[in-house]
Every structure is written in C-alpha cells, then in structure tokens.
Symmetry: C2
Subunit: 181 residues, 2 copies
C-alpha cells in the first residue's frame, strides 16, 4: 500500500526520501500517515524489485541525497495496482472502543463523545481551509485532472468529519435519553 503510494509520487516527479516524506506530510497525511523508517525501508525494497532506481547526488552545504526515479516496471506495477480490485480491511479503532464502552458510566461516555466531536470539528475546519489551497496544489502538479483526485480525497475527509460529528450527536442523545446506569 505505502509501496504504491511511493510509486505514485515518483511517477509525478523524481524525489529523494526526504521529499517523499514531506509530500506525505502536506498532501496525503489526512488519509495516510507514513513513518520515516518505513519509507526508507520501502525505498530499498522498491529498488531491489527494480521498480525504482536511485542515484546519489552530492550537494554543497547540505548532506548528500539519493534521488529516485520510477522505472518502466514500476510504472506497470503502479497501473496494475490501480486497476486491481480495491481490498478494504475493516479496522476502525474508534468502533472497537465504542463497542466496549458499556463498562463505563453514562457521564463518562457522554464526555467521550463530546471530546470526539470537538476533535472532528477542528479537523472539519481544517479541511475547509485545505480546500482553498487545492488550487495551489493543482498548480504544483501542473495538471487539473490529477489535482481533481486530490480534491476528492479532501472532500471525503470533510464528509467523514461531518458524519462523525452527527454520529456523536446521535450517541449523546441516546445516552441522555436511555440513561440506565
């Protein structure tokens, strides 16, 4: 998965590990959190597979860096992944916790959903801001079609945040209402 994310980015432009991490941080972070150690490991394994090639570049006043390019095999792998059936593995920590909240009091649980709602409200507002900088990102990519999909991921984030806020309201109302214990 991360593997294909890296291939996708290198398909846009040559980058070193540091730049890949930066790109994750400012564009993909809301749906994928990449760890430094994992990115460097993945780059090695992609190079071993022949999907990318790396070249060391010397710099003045800065550490040397290793620039990576995607190969034809890598591009093929990327397209194969895109046309493959999407496999979604159910794994929602929030619901795992919710499922077992019956061990706590009504008050504690109302507090839980209040905090949760607050944290998604902050996120929601962040997404509204991100929407404006979408144009900025579009310029970066020099490609309206490509940047459209970036916009889709932001829209998903906004919808998801709104959905969770509404769900929190529902849970709080039910707790206030059916409050046994």
């Amino acid at each position: 998965m991360l593997k294909h994310g890296i291939l996708g980015l290198l398909n846009y432009a040559d980058m070193n590990g540091y730049e890949i991490l930066e790109t994750f941080r400012h564009s993909l972070n809301h749906f994928w959190n990449a760890q430094k150690s994992q990115v460097y490991r993945e780059l090695n394994s992609l190079e071993d597979s022949g999907y990318i090639t790396g070249t060391w570049i010397e710099q003045e006043g800065k550490p040397d860096k290793k620039m990576y390019s995607i190969t034809d095999d890598g591009r093929k792998e990327l397209l194969d992944w895109l046309s493959e059936e999407l496999k979604e593995t159910a794994r929602i920590p929030l619901l795992m916790k919710t499922f077992f909240l019956g061990e706590r009091t009504v008050e504690e649980n109302i507090e839980f959903f209040n905090r949760l709602k607050e944290s998604y409200k902050v996120r929601y507002e962040g997404f509204v801001a991100a929407d404006t900088s979408s144009k900025e990102y579009g310029d970066e990519l020099q490609d309206g079609y490509r940047s459209m999909f970036w916009g889709f991921t932001i829209s998903y984030g906004r919808r998801r945040a709104r959905m969770i806020m509404e769900w929190c309201d529902e849970c709080i109302a039910a707790l206030r209402n059916g409050g046994s214990r």
Copy 2:
C-alpha cells in the same frame, strides 16, 4: 487493539478461541476483521501477561478446548484502555488509490466509483437488516446498556456507507463535468 477486543469479550463471558472468532465474525466483523492465527497468538500473549487464564476442557465427540477467563489484572487493563485517549492512525486505502487515479481515463474512473457505490449500497442494506437483529444481540448480552453500544457501531456503519455513496455521486458528477482526458 485486538488485544483489548479479546479482553472485552472475555469480560462478557468465558470463551475459547473458536468462540472468540465466531463472536468477531457475527458482531465485530464490520469494523474489525480478526485473523484466526492472530487471535490464537494474542491469547497466548495475554495469558503470558497474566490478563487471562486458560483451562483445557475435555469433551466427548469433540476436540478438547481451552477456555479462557479474564483476571483482575485483565479487567484493569481493559478499563485503562477505555479511559485512555483514543489514538486514530490515518490509513484509508480507498483514498490512497483515489489520490492516484489521475493515471487512468475518465471512463475507467467513473466505472471505479460506480462499482464502489454499488458495493456500499449492498453493505448499507446489510446494516438495515442488522439493525433488526440488534434486539437479538441485546437479549444475548442480557444487558440493554451494553447492547446500546453495539447499536452505535451499526449506526456508524450505516452512516459511513451512506456517506461513501454520496461521495461517489459527487466524484462521478465531477468526472462527467470537468472531463478532460
């Protein structure tokens, strides 16, 4: 995470590995997919930590089974986890793919979102059915308060499915509309 899910179930009732897997399959499966191998491994590690205790039970006409009970330490660990700050790690495979769909044609991508919508429609309808059997589950637990949270997870699933269907509509409309390439 799975660790705490198992502790949570054993807090409801003593179970063997097989029963834990069954419970995951019929109640938690929509938000957590537990692997057989992982559950057995986790049970061993929980026993090593002293959070659960296992006893072999001989059976006639059936294989022996190992019944697990939660210990006081285990119950403490469960409550600690519940009161701990929720950590959500962003990792949404659907969006990873969406982000890079710019390598494919408009037609292929419309098809992608159509299929996705269809699959969530099926899920959505499944959740509506699950809601009816909520009472069944409530009876099983003998506890209206506990079963309330099971209901919350179902409601989340329903809302999530609806949200994704609406998002698909938005993406399809945008593709039809701004269709370059």
